[in-house]
């Protein structure tokens, strides 16, 4: 029972912390570029503002357009129930392994692309087509790189992978793990619409990928989609943090272990968020035609990771 309660607490924490994480990345980026920047808690105000606004929907849209925000948000929230965020052994882990997580995330992307096409605006269609170009290579990369870890741990269950890695930390410097980390990091940047694949702060429609699909959304729909996208960033960073640097994740359900797990999770998120902010101030956006090449490299790394951890087992 305590386990299910814990899963719910994890979900609530993830929901609450996701806007803060994005705000932190934006704030750090602004500070690194010698700007003052909005405070890290600014996204909460954005959410409140958007949730209070009226929804305007074009007459040309179908039911798809109205359902999508709930699917995007709902799938992201479901994923947070399945992840080992604070503790490695939570009961809901048994209801879905890494494949469920990867394809729940893809479900959101898929519906968002459909919703981008739905109103028939040129930018929406363009954004959807680009998003699919990216997702078509990024998604198998994510699955493969986690498979690399799953092969080493002997289970596709995320909690089990974390527990197994904690039991034998030597496995972390094997090439399989290092290659998988790089591959997952590149794919995570692509999936969450960060530089060098997509510029999250762009205001030019021609360069947009993720934003272009949201141009028609307003009010609470936009709030839900934005919140879902922020959750996705949190999910990917948590995956990177807890699968590859599993120290701190609670393996028992005692209170000190859980508090330690929470603290470790937050620290790891802050470090990864800072790494992203630093990276985004260092590099420019890639040309769109170079993006599939970068993703092909990350796919290759994931493939090599699986091969080497399979053969070195």
């Amino acid at each position: 029972m305590a386990g299910y309660l814990l899963a719910i607490i994890q979900m609530v924490l993830a929901l609450a912390l996701a806007p803060m994480l994005v705000g932190l990345v934006r704030w750090l980026k602004a500070r690194l570029q010698n700007r003052c920047g909005a405070p890290p808690w600014q996204p909460y105000f954005e959410l409140r503002k958007l949730l209070g606004k009226e929804v305007v929907v074009s007459n040309n849209t179908s039911w798809l357009f109205r359902v999508t925000p709930y699917i995007v948000f709902g799938s992201a929230v479901t994923v947070t129930l399945l992840l080992p965020l604070i503790t490695a052994n939570q009961p809901l882990d048994r209801t879905g392994d890494m494949l469920t997580v990867v394809y729940l995330l893809l479900l959101g992307t898929f519906f968002l692309a459909l919703a981008g096409l739905d109103p028939g605006t040129p930018f929406g269609g363009m954004g959807a087509s680009r998003e699919m170009t990216v997702a078509a290579i990024a998604e198998p990369t994510i699955a493969l790189s986690i498979f690399g870890l799953a092969v080493a741990a002997g289970s596709t269950n995320l909690g089990q992978i974390v527990a197994q890695t904690l039991a034998e930390p030597a496995v972390l410097i094997t090439p399989g793990h290092l290659l998988a980390f790089v591959a997952l990091f590149i794919a995570a940047l692509a999936e969450t619409g960060r530089l060098p694949v997509d510029n999250p702060s762009t205001h030019l429609e021609l360069t947009m990928i993720h934003e272009a699909m949201l141009l028609e959304y307003s009010g609470r729909y936009l709030a839900l989609i934005e919140w879902g996208a922020w959750l996705k960033l949190l999910i990917f960073l948590s995956l990177l943090a807890n699968l590859f640097v599993p120290w701190g994740v609670a393996t028992t359900l005692s209170l000190p272990a859980l508090v330690g797990g929470l603290a470790a999770w937050v620290v790891k998120l802050v470090v990864l968020g800072a790494a992203i902010a630093l990276l985004e101030t260092q590099i420019a956006k890639l040309r769109l035609f170079r993006v599939p090449e970068l993703l092909a490299v990350s796919f290759l790394l994931a493939l090599l990771a699986v091969t080497s951890s399979f053969l070195l087992r």
């Binding site: 030597a170 410097i173 094997t174 090439p175 290092l178 290659l179 599939p292 090449e293 970068l294 092909a296 490299v297 796919f299 290759l300 790394l301 493939l303 090599l304 091969t307 080497s308 053969l311 070195l312």
Partner: protein, 219 residues
């Protein structure tokens, strides 16, 4: 414990060396090719030291120093000089585009895994995990040579191929005799200098390093 650490470090080093070979396929500017080769050689030299330490083969330290001097300092410097004289170039249109060549490189490494599987299974060396990666690097080097059009890129491909052979030798035998190693280095340097002369000739005759134009009768 010592053996497992050795096994992990050598496999890690071998994967890093292979990784730089793959970076080569992704990059376009010839400068980046040279830099990737330089970093690859530096990692390779470090790997020689690791194998020398764990495998109790002190002559590998000497080989590592020569390798560092030759492949990290001398040859990249010569390549840079060559580039400055022929103008900095880009591998704009390789025979196979970048995304597909990266995928093909992955298949080549898988092929190397399949081919070396009998050897890896019967071997008792702690370094056996790196053998397929070394063979994979040899394939990737060959692949660079046959798919790139610029003569300079092909030279770097040859050097990467040579790195792959050196990697295979050090992982498979813990160092061939020093005199053979020295012979290989001398051979490599000579080969490189001959290629350099050829490149200057190609540049003089065709005003381009594009090997496609070598097959044209008139220019």
């Amino acid at each position: 414990m010592n053996d497992t650490l050795f096994a992990q470090l050598s496999t890690l080093g071998a994967s890093l060396v292979l990784l730089f070979g793959i970076i080569l396929l992704w990059r376009r500017s010839l400068m980046a090719y040279v830099r990737a080769f330089q970093q690859q050689s530096a990692v390779l030299a470090a790997l020689f030291v690791v194998v020398g330490y764990f495998g109790q083969a002190p002559e590998l330290y000497v080989v590592a120093v020569i390798l560092f001097a030759l492949k990290v300092i001398l040859i990249p410097r010569l390549l840079h000089r060559m580039q400055n004289q022929v103008g900095i170039g880009y591998e704009a249109t390789p025979y196979l585009n970048v995304a597909s060549s990266v995928i093909v490189a992955g298949l080549l490494v898988l092929l190397a895994y399949v081919l070396t599987r009998p050897v890896v299974l019967t071997s008792t060396l702690p370094t056996r995990g790196g053998l397929p990666l070394a063979v994979g690097l040899i394939f990737v080097g060959l692949f660079v040579i046959i798919t790139r059009k610029k003569a300079l890129a092909q030279v770097v491909g040859f050097l990467v191929l040579e790195n792959g052979i050196a990697l295979l030798a050090v992982l498979g035998t813990f160092g061939i005799p020093l005199i053979v190693e020295l012979g290989v280095f001398l051979d490599l340097l000579m080969g490189f200098l001959v290629m350099q002369v050829f490149i200057y000739h190609i540049q003089d005759t065709f005003e381009s390093l594009d090997v496609d134009r070598l097959s044209e009768l008139k220019y």
